[in-house]
Symmetry: C2
Subunit: 345 residues, 2 copies
């Protein structure tokens, strides 16, 4: 395991992207987002994605393209990724939503014709650091991961949602799939040949299963809540579909080239009872929640994202840990791009 | 079982409320909301609540009070129930949010110092009938139903959320608890001496349990998703807390008199890719979802609220079914208020 200073890793990523024709300022934004996801331990959205972003350039993304604001009116904005690196579109969406929420009390920005944008939590943490509350809903048009509740044939992606709110200790951020597992978690379980304790998958005939490998043979992932409460995950996932349908990117159409769509809503507590009041109330509430006794095997009560933010702090202070596989991949990429490699510490 | 014409039941409820000093127009709004919840088969929010609303008059609610708009700025509004019948505050919030969403693309209205407002779905169905998407988050300050994920001591209410979106067939509406069960469902199971198939409760020492009766002895309801995915219900419930903290009604403070708070966000698809486009996309999507094969024991794929809307249609055509217990309670209330009783058909 090697530790690379966070700033060095961001520079490295930016150099790789710049070598592939991405302008300096854009390369910096994309690299910062990817490295922050890695540091937050959202590693499926981390440095492994430098390779994916480079591979997409010239195929699904254009190094020179900018996201396009389709509509900017009142408290809403609609953004088309327009062939840009999708992270840039999501960053633009969140910046507009933050500005408009401060002006109008609430704002919604949607992104269409997008692709992978790193973890939703990375973007929402940035919004919550501005003292605002946020929800994000994501949809992927080409995935067939989940069947409608009661059904067998998969026609939903694992449609994640994310929620964030500010506290005087920093943001609380949750980011999870409306399916029982994300595809990333499912693939990792398949690789490790793991089964789940209770049925969380359906096989190709709709029989419940504890084996994620059914996904390789026409199976699906149950919605969050599984047999007993899967109607809740189904309802949330349907809302992902409806919200992103409104973005205009043929989000629900499997017959057009696959893309991702996002809906982000930001609320400014200062327009309601005021930020000072809000933070004071949340402080008392969190103190009360933390005072709960803990169940066997639990060391203390946590809020969503707490481990991620601790890991991020650790990375800022001590460098980002990279295993040999990641370091090797990054240095291979560096060689291909003619960029100085990362050194082991 | 008696069927009472829906309009007659609404008039009856309004007469009861008017007899208790509520002005005609307000009595009509409250009665319509309650009867619609009954017809939608949200019966814990239905006609049994006429008694509760009457009992609250002069105690926690004033027949003459109006909800108060505390702030109305940009795309937001903050409403204080102000001792009014809380349904009136929620109706005002949704009307302002609908108007503002049409103007700004999105709007958020919050309600504080409120109480029971009937089912969230009743209010959201009305918003979706206007062609708009909506989310609602509710919080109750005095309930101790759920412990923080990993914890033992209950300090959350079952904090429900609701989601609604329009389609060319009418609204799709989901309304569910961020706990594994609502308190209503839990109480009903306790009454019937039922246990759950898998553990969905914690006893007073934090041991998992299938017995809802643990609630009578310091136990709690697990969050939606239970042991495996309860962190998702926990995250949703925390967002209910944060959003309503911003409403300014001391929502998270157990040391002040109990009240309920609500956050409602409404989005107008017409500002994004347009209502016509949105409805066309959703129609194709729903057709595809319905084409899925069904699992054993499932007759067909349904969308959230489908059974409720079918029941509502049936009630509009055939009258609202009332069992002898409900009819007896309503006619007892009529006698107390000097109002003509409902007749059995």
């Amino acid at each position: 395991m090697t530790r690379v200073p966070m700033e060095r890793l961001i520079e490295f990523g930016a150099e790789v992207l710049t070598a592939r024709g991405v302008a300096d300022d854009r390369a910096r934004i994309v690299s910062e987002t990817i490295v922050e996801a890695e540091a937050f331990r959202q590693s499926t959205h981390g440095v492994v994605q430098f390779r994916s972003v480079c591979s997409a350039l010239g195929v699904s993304a254009d190094a020179k393209a900018d996201p396009r604001v389709v509509t900017d009116r009142g408290a809403m904005a609609l953004i088309d990724a327009n062939g840009s690196i999708p992270i840039l579109a999501m960053k633009l969406a969140r910046e507009i939503a933050v500005r408009k929420a401060r002006e109008y009390g609430v704002a919604t920005a949607m992104v269409r014709h997008s692709g992978w944008i790193a973890a939703l939590s990375t973007h929402l943490a940035a919004v919550a650091r501005e003292g605002l509350l946020a929800t994000a809903w994501a949809q992927s048009s080409s995935c067939k991961d989940c069947a409608p509740f009661g059904g067998i044939d998969a026609c939903f992606s694992t449609n994640p949602i994310a929620l964030a709110f500010p506290t005087d200790e920093g943001p609380v951020v949750a980011d999870f799939s409306t399916a029982s597992f994300s595809m990333g978690a499912t693939s990792a379980m398949i690789k490790r040949n793991e089964k789940t304790e209770t049925p969380r998958f359906l096989d190709k005939d709709g029989m419940s299963s504890r084996d994620p490998a059914v996904m390789k043979d026409g199976g699906s992932i149950m919605f969050a809540g599984c047999e007993a409460e899967g109607y809740k995950g189904y309802a949330l996932s349907l809302f992902n579909e409806a919200l992103t349908a409104a973005a205009g990117g043929s989000a629900n159409n499997p017959d057009v080239p696959g893309s991702q769509s996002f809906g982000l809503t930001v609320i400014d507590p200062d327009h309601f009872a005021g930020t000072e009041y809000y933070l004071k109330e949340m402080k008392r509430f969190m103190t009360r929640v933390r005072a709960s006794r803990v169940r066997d095997g639990v060391d203390r009560i946590r809020f969503p994202g707490e481990r991620g933010f601790a890991a991020l702090e650790d990375c800022r202070a001590q460098g980002v840990p990279l295993d040999d596989e990641k370091l090797g991949m990054l240095n291979q990429l560096a060689a291909e791009c003619g960029v100085d490699p990362l050194k082991a510490d």
